[in-house]
Structure formats: C-alpha cells, structure tokens
Amino acid sequence: MNMTLIKSIKDLPAEENLFPGTPTCAGCGGLLALRHCLKALGKKTVIVNAAGCFTLLSVYPFTPFQNSWLYTAMACAPAGAQGIRDALDILIKKRRLDPKEDLKVMVLTGDGVAYDIGLASTSGALHRNLDFYYICSDNEAYGNTGFQSSGATPFASRTGTTPVGKTSVAGSILPKKNLFEIWRSHNPPYLATISPSHPVDLINKFTKAETYKGPKLFINLSPCPAGWSTDPAHSARLAKLAVDTGIWSLKEAIYGDVRHTVIPRKFKPVEAYLKEQGRFAHLFKPVRQEDVIRKIQEMVDQYWNGIQKKDFIPA
C-alpha cells in the first residue's frame, strides 16, 4: 500500500478548507477537528449535514467551506449521501459528468444523530457498503439545543435532562453507548476514533481510510465549552486529558480488526479530566462522591485491562 503517513504537526497539510468566522462557540473542539478532517479530505468533498451545531456553519448566503454542502434533516444524512454518491456514479457512467468532477461524499453529524435518531439510516448505509466518509462530532449530548442527554452521554454527566437533584445525585445514570462497536459490527473497511488533540494521528487515519472503498467512519470526542462548562481556551488540553486518562481511546478498525493507535505510557487518573468540567462538578462539590468517581475509574480500567490482554500493535 502506497501511503505517506506524517510524523509531526509540522507535516500537517497547509491547505485550509474551513475558514474562520463561524458561529460556533469559542473553543469548540468539534470545529477544531473538522478543520483537520477537511485538510485531509480536500476541497473536492461534498458535506452532507444533519441537524446539529454545525448546521449553522452555512447560513444563506454564507458558507465557511471550500466544499459543497447539503443540509438534509436530523435522521437521514447518510441517505442523502447515498443519493449523491449514486447520482455522481450514474452521471459518470453515463458520460454526463467528467470523472474529474467527481467528489468524495462526507456525512457530518453530532452524537445525537449518530448515536440516536440517525442510527438506522447509518446502519442502512453501512449495510449497503456506501462509499462515503462519516464524521461524528461527539460532544456527548445534544449541544445545539443546549446540552440534553443523548446516547453518547457518559455516566455521571450533568445535562439539561439529567440534572443533579435530590433524587439524582450522580446526574446521568446510564453509561455511554458504544457506537464504535455498533458500527464495527457492520464490518466497515475503516473505522476510527479521533481527537482534536492528536492531529497527526487524525490525518494519518484519513490517509489510511482513503485507500478503502466503502464506509469510512470517524468519531471525534469534541470538547464543548458551552455544554461541558469549561474554559474555551482549554479545549485542546481537555481532549488530550481524555486520551491520557484512557477515557477516550484512540483506535482504528480495519474490516473489524481493532488496533489502538495511541496508548498512554502512564494513565492519568480520571479525576484529572473530570474535575475540570462543570458537567461533573457535582462529583466534587459540595461533597466528594467517591463511589461515583471510583466507578468511572473502574469502567476505564476494565476497558484497558481487556485491551492489554490482547496482542495489539500501536500504529
């Protein structure tokens, strides 16, 4: 396989396809990752969007992208991608479009769509082996509506619909769905988690993904100052903390075969990540909820214990 992987941030592509001046919140970790994703994908990409924070990136008559754009609705962006991909293939086959005019098709959604309302249409696209990219910007709640709990919300997070109160001291009592495994069960050619704190890892994953035809899926953990109640200046650092504590594992699966691409040499305690965020503040004040913090630590440890038993090679 002929691929050029990069080694340092100095090698990041200079190309910019997402320009500044968007209406997203200051310090949006999702936007930061999207900028890198579009460096990798290039200009010849049509973005198919579902309802979410990024929908307001393109408001008539402005768009911050070099790319084409189609806003669909909340549940069906992968079906929109299907229609565009099929139409481009038909036009090229029937010689009504120069193959040079072809586009990559990329779905862009948040976690509410990817984990919940759009799960069926994504499953359909994966089943049909649609040749497309999917970028899920996972800020672990419905961010655009003001931070309500989604299938991606982790245990103990406070959200608008899992508030902390007399009868619910922990916030959300449900664990985060494992979208990586849900998607992996469809056996797509390429599937990866990414983080805005690891742009080299991110770019290389897109480089690898490009060699496959079929679904190429990315889940980005997107620090969300507005919803997480964090300092907008700390988003990249928080993203890195998520990786360093083992809460967000950076990995890829090629036709279902999982490999971890970043393994912290020494895991930081989850507390380092939790205590910085307003959404977990109730775990520390007014009284420290030791049992909840311990449970989160155990969930992370259990994940990595399972991993370390396997023979994996970091890429």
Binding site: K43, K44, V46, V48, T55, L56, S58, V59, Y60, T63, F65, Q66, N67, S68, W69, L70, Y71, T72, A73, A75, C76, P78, A79, G80, A81, Q82, G83, I84, D86, A87, L88, D89, I90, L91, K94, R96, L97, K100, E101, D102, L103, A120, S121, S123, G124, H127, R128
Partner: protein, 411 residues
C-alpha cells in the same frame, strides 16, 4: 419500438411511464399496495432493459432523502410510496420541495392508521397538500402512465422546478387491469428531453451549498413565497404540456375533467378511481331526465381555480364527495372549492358528502341520495349539514361486528 397495447395494472402502467421517461435512479422501500411498481422497475433494471440504478433504502424517510439528494446532484429520479410510508417520510417532503428538486413520486392511496387498513382514501396524499409538491390524481391506468411523462415535463420546467406527486387509488387502480397504450419511445423522447439540471448539481469545479439554513423570517418568507409562485406558474406550464402531449399522443388531460358538465344543472365533484362510479351514476340519472354531470379533480396542486370555476359557474347545485376527512372540520376539497367559489356572482349551492373512506363502496343508492339532496337544496334553498355516506346495510353489519366484539350496550 412502436406504440403497443397491453393489459396493465395501475402499478405496471406507472412502471412503464418511468421506464419510458428514462429515469436514472430509483430509491425504494416497499409498502402495500405500491410494491409492484418498484418490483417491476427493479426487475427491468436488473435484467438490463432499463439503464438505471435502484437501491433499497432503510425507510421512506431515507428513501425520499436519497431521491431529493440524487435529484439535487443532477439525475432524473423516481420513487413511490403509499399511506403510512408517506407519513413516515413526511418531514422530507417539505425539505426536498424546498430544495426545488424536480423528481416524480407516486403515491398509491391507502387509508391511514388507525385503525390500520389497506384500501384507499385520500387522507394520505392530502396530508402532503401544503408541502410544495405538485399533485396529479389519476382515474385510469392509461392516465397513470401518461401522467408520469407529463409530470416530469411539468416538474423539470425551469419556471417550476418542484417535485410532483402522481396519485392513484390502491387496489381499485393499482391492481386493476385495463387496456393501456404504451407510447413509442421516440415519441416520448420528443415530448420529454433528457434532464439537464442547471440550478442544482454537485461537481468539483463548482462547489455549491444547497439546502442551507436561513436566519430570520424575511429570508424564509422570500424562499417560501418563491415556491408558491413557482407552483402557481405550473398552471400555465400545465396547459402547454398537456397541449403538446395531446399533439404527440392524441390523449388530452385537462387540469379538471368535466364529464357531461356542459349542459348540466347539477354536478358531482370527485377524484381518482371512484370517479368511474360517479360517471356511471351520472349516466343512469341522466336517463331519468336529470341534467347531471361530474367534475373530476385531476391537478390538485397548484389548485386550478379558474378551470374549476368555469365548469361550476351557473350550476344549480354542486355536491362535493370527499374521499377524506379532516377530523374536526369535514371534507377537505369541500372547503377548498367553497373558497374558490366565494367571490363568484353566479355561484351554485354547495353540498358536502364524505364517502369511500378506507375504500368503502359508494353504491347506486348513495348516489341517488346525493342527487335527491341536490334537487331538494335547489328547490328549498336550504343546505343540509355535511353527511357521511353510509348505508343501512353497512350500519346493520357494523352493529353485528360490535356485538361480536362485546360492545353492545343496553338501550
């Protein structure tokens, strides 16, 4: 291939229309009684007799999205659904209409749940009345085939650029075989040139943002009203399209069909396949000396105000038979027609009947009841309240079913 004649169901007639229109792309999802359409097309596509791609989507919601997105990329698209499926995809009807993508969608009408049922009425298609889709409603299999061809011409016209529904009744038309003339492909090509999208496409050299958000009511109002104006323009375009269709194929379809309306004093207003029952009733009552006629609604969006008024002007009484019910109001077309006639000087009395819900038959006896009601209204000048058509026999049968279900109450 020259013109041929075959016995076709409503569904296969539609499929022939799609094949002759040389559609590029058919996203599908099955639902009774529409499925025969997509199965027929899939067979032709997989056999290689039709140069198109069909794909099975995961829901009607996805299907309509894929149809709209493909049309926004620049190919000619067809899709079909019915009833619950239409409602499942409902959000996307408004969305793709706003994209201004001119594809054709068939709805095979079927009553809406609950109770869940199979046979037709028009609450499904009328729920989509305000979506921005144009609507053509068909009475016969030939008309269904011809309407597909006309629909593409109408939708793709640069003055219109809106998606369009072709509607027909489930079972009564979808599964009824009638002799149908299949047009010659060269004649079809003369009538319907290949689709060339100048307003909506995706290609590398010309990035385009489609379907994007607006902030504020002034942009929103602007785009919505533009759709309305485009739809209204379709009335003019329809005349041109139907004249040309008539010239090439020798069949003529007006926006509204007047059946024995010229000298008529009393008019029934109906739509879709049950109009055939109405026409038979007209012939029968004419033999008894009543000057009656039937107006069949065909183009329902845009609403052909002028054509409708021209037929109804000066009539003694008009009875609208709505095969639908707006719960809490009554017949949907009754309200629309009353609105259209409001400012007319010489307007007829207007009576409202609800009939044929869930495919319930409209018997000769019920038509007779309507004719008598019209005469009585004219003679007395009094309009009775809207009526549900329901026979005594049907009532007794319902009582029997209720007693089986244990729902008889002591009087």
């Amino acid at each position: 291939m020259a013109r041929t004649r075959e016995m076709l169901t409503g569904n296969t007639s539609v499929a022939w229309g799609v094949r002759l229109a040389e559609v590029d792309y058919v996203p599908t999802y099955p639902i009774t009684p529409q499925t025969e359409i997509i199965e027929t097309l899939a067979k032709w596509i997989y056999d290689g007799v039709m140069d198109a791609r069909c794909v099975s989507l995961d829901s009607e919601h996805s299907m309509i999205t894929a149809a709209g997105a493909a049309s926004a990329t620049g190919v000619r698209v067809f899709t079909a659904t019915s009833s619950q499926g239409l409602l499942y995809g409902f959000e996307m009807l408004y969305t793709v209409a706003g994209w201004r993508v001119p594809f054709v969608m068939v709805n095979v009408s079927r009553g809406l749940s609950s109770p869940i049922t199979l046979e037709p009425d028009h609450n499904d298609i009328l729920a989509a009345r305000d979506s921005g889709f144009l609507q053509i409603h068909c009475e016969t299999c030939q008309e269904a085939l011809d309407s597909i061809l006309m629909a593409y011409r109408l939708a793709e016209d640069e003055r219109v650029l809106l998606p369009i529904f072709v509607n027909m009744d489930g079972f009564h038309l979808s599964f009824t075989r009638e002799p149908v003339e299949i047009p010659d492909i060269d004649e079809v090509r003369r009538f319907l040139p290949p689709y060339q999208s100048n307003h909506a496409f995706f290609k590398a050299s010309q990035p385009m943002a489609q379907g994007l958000a607006v902030i504020g009511g002034s942009s929103y109002s602007y785009f919505k009203y533009q759709m309305h104006l485009a739809s209204m323009k379709a009335l003019i375009v329809y005349q041109e399209v139907s004249e040309e269709f008539n010239k090439i194929f020798g069949r003529s379809y007006n926006t509204t069909e007047g059946y024995m309306t010229h000298d008529a004093e009393y008019i029934l207003v109906m739509s879709n396949s049950f109009s055939t029952l109405g026409k038979a009733a007209i012939e029968k009552v004419r033999k008894k000396g009543m000057k009656a006629g039937l107006l069949r609604l065909r183009l329902l969006r845009p609403f052909p105000d002028a054509d409708l008024k021209a037929i109804l002007k000066g009539k003694k009484a008009v009875a609208v038979i709505d095969q639908n019910i707006s719960v809490g109001k009554g017949g949907i077309w009754y309200s629309e027609i009353a609105g259209a006639l409001y400012h007319e000087k010489n307007k007829p009395l207007l009576l409202s009947f609800i009939g044929g819900l869930g495919g319930k038959n409209i018997s000769a006896q019920e038509f007779e009841f309507i004719f008598n009601a019209m005469i009585k209204a004219f003679n007395t000048g009094e309009i009775e309240t809207p009526r549900l058509l329901y026979t005594e026999g049907e009532w007794r049968e319902m009582e029997r079913l209720k007693s089986i279900a244990g729902k008889t109450y002591n009087k």
